[in-house]
Amino acid sequence: MIDIQVRHLDLIQGDQKIISDINVEILKNEICAITGPSGCGKTTFMKYLNGLIPIKRGTITIKDKEVDEKNKAFMRSKLSIMFQEGGLISNLTVLENICFPLQYHTSLSSYLIEPWASELLNMVGLSQSAHALPCELSGGMLKRAAIARSMVLEPEVLFLDEPTSGLDPITLKSIDNLILKIRKEMNITIILVTHCLESVFRICDRVILFDPKRKRMIENGNPKEIVKHSSDSWSLEFLSY
């Protein structure tokens, strides 16, 4: 089943066209990586998918609804983003941060919310740091907490912006395992914006590769298949690093 469908989309930043004519179909429950060199438009593409940048040419359909101003509230309820910096509210503890969206959107009492939040913290392996402030956490723990917070409203599509940047190889692997665990337990589609090819080959079902020089999407498919069958030397060189 197709979860996200992109048709003839142009990525435009300011007055400049970064990438033209993107056509992608992302299936339900897939882990898809958006990758490419720095400045190729990965984060911009993610913002387009979330409706944070208005579309000038092309269409994006998520869960059979077109991404536009009219369906903004619907989109926000179905999608969730973990930003690169985490975006945790600095004066709330990790547990309070996770409870925060639920407390805002529902009238549930804290004794009903907290078990769910604790379950999420358990899932990301942060139950020991529930009462710590974000500034007291390490880089990896901060990413885990941010992932837990983005999961709390039970999204159907989860976007992770550079979830493994600046992490050591062991923490990186644990974040990868966490992403796989989330997909398995919550049955959602996950889209990663990443530079880390190790993660791409380890966990992703699909990779979308942008080339800023040719201003187009070069690859779209299973990373291992691409390496085996692709005829494009640039993409082979990029993916084989």
Binding site: E85, Q103, H105
Partner: protein, 369 residues
Amino acid sequence: MKKLETKYTKLGVGQFSFILPYSFNFFTFDHYYYKITHFILTNEIEYLALQLDNTYYKKVATELIRNKLAIFCKKHSVRFEVIGDEATFFVKREFTKVKSNKRNATLLIDCIGHRTVEIFTDISTYSKFIFLVLTNFFTHERTSIKKMQRNEFCIHLNDVCMNALPITVLIGALIGLIYSFQGYQPLSKFGAQSFLIQSITISFNREVAAFLVGIILCSRSATAFTADICAMKANQEISSMEMMLIDPLKLIVIPRALATVFAAPILTMYCFLSALVGCLFMVKSIGFTFVYSFYQMQKHFLLTDFLGSMIKSIFFGYFIATVACYIALNSKCFSSQIGKFATKSVVISIITVVLIDGIFTLLYYALGF
């Protein structure tokens, strides 16, 4: 440091050549340039040759010293030449300034035009923002949101009001003391020192207390609000709130604005009282009794003036908070720019306070207060 030497060879009367050494590069550029020019100035030189025989020269540095020396020699009427095996190796590069296509006058007009448009756009969006905040004050919210707003309001009220109370009282007392001391001397020249207490009571009640509190709030709370929200923006906290369909206006702006609106009149009252206390101590030292001073203060204290001052301070509070939040929310903020936006917030909120004060003065005058 190793001494850097320049080699000169005498070619004839007033004719010299010099060789750039191996140590010549951009770090020693100024040293060698100074040495050569000093040599030209101290000796009566008619002809100077820059001898380039080696291949180790730093290309751009050599080219630049050659150009610079050529200009210097032309200025001092010295014939200058480049000789040697490598003389032709250095192709003259065009070091030209990147010229703007526009003339300066056009650029200035352009800048003024753009800035004016920017200011008017800002004013228009800010006007929309203040009404949006105002309507949100009276919008019915869910219990959960109200609870969050209440918590935030208490935190900010404590910060804006309770924590600012000592400094407000101190400044009020000192200004009251200074004001009465400064006023005593000119009034005593005309034998009108009995009007001192009257003038202080009326001026602080009508104007000075509210204005002082406005300035204190600008410098203390407006900067704190802007820095706080800018840091949240840089941390992507606001973006993630928006993505979770949480309205930053409700949780960030409304509690801060309400806290400042509540705090401003309270602080004004304390500022006024402390100024009177400061004045009392001053006038006691020049011979007025406490009883007489109290009587004078009570006689000239008008409730209409006091209420007018309270209303004015409520507006000050509202505009200070909204200006600070507006600037922070509409900035494309990186953590390094927080200071810049905090400064902008103070400047604009002080201007706003002065403008509102002017408007209220005219209004009260028209109403006959």
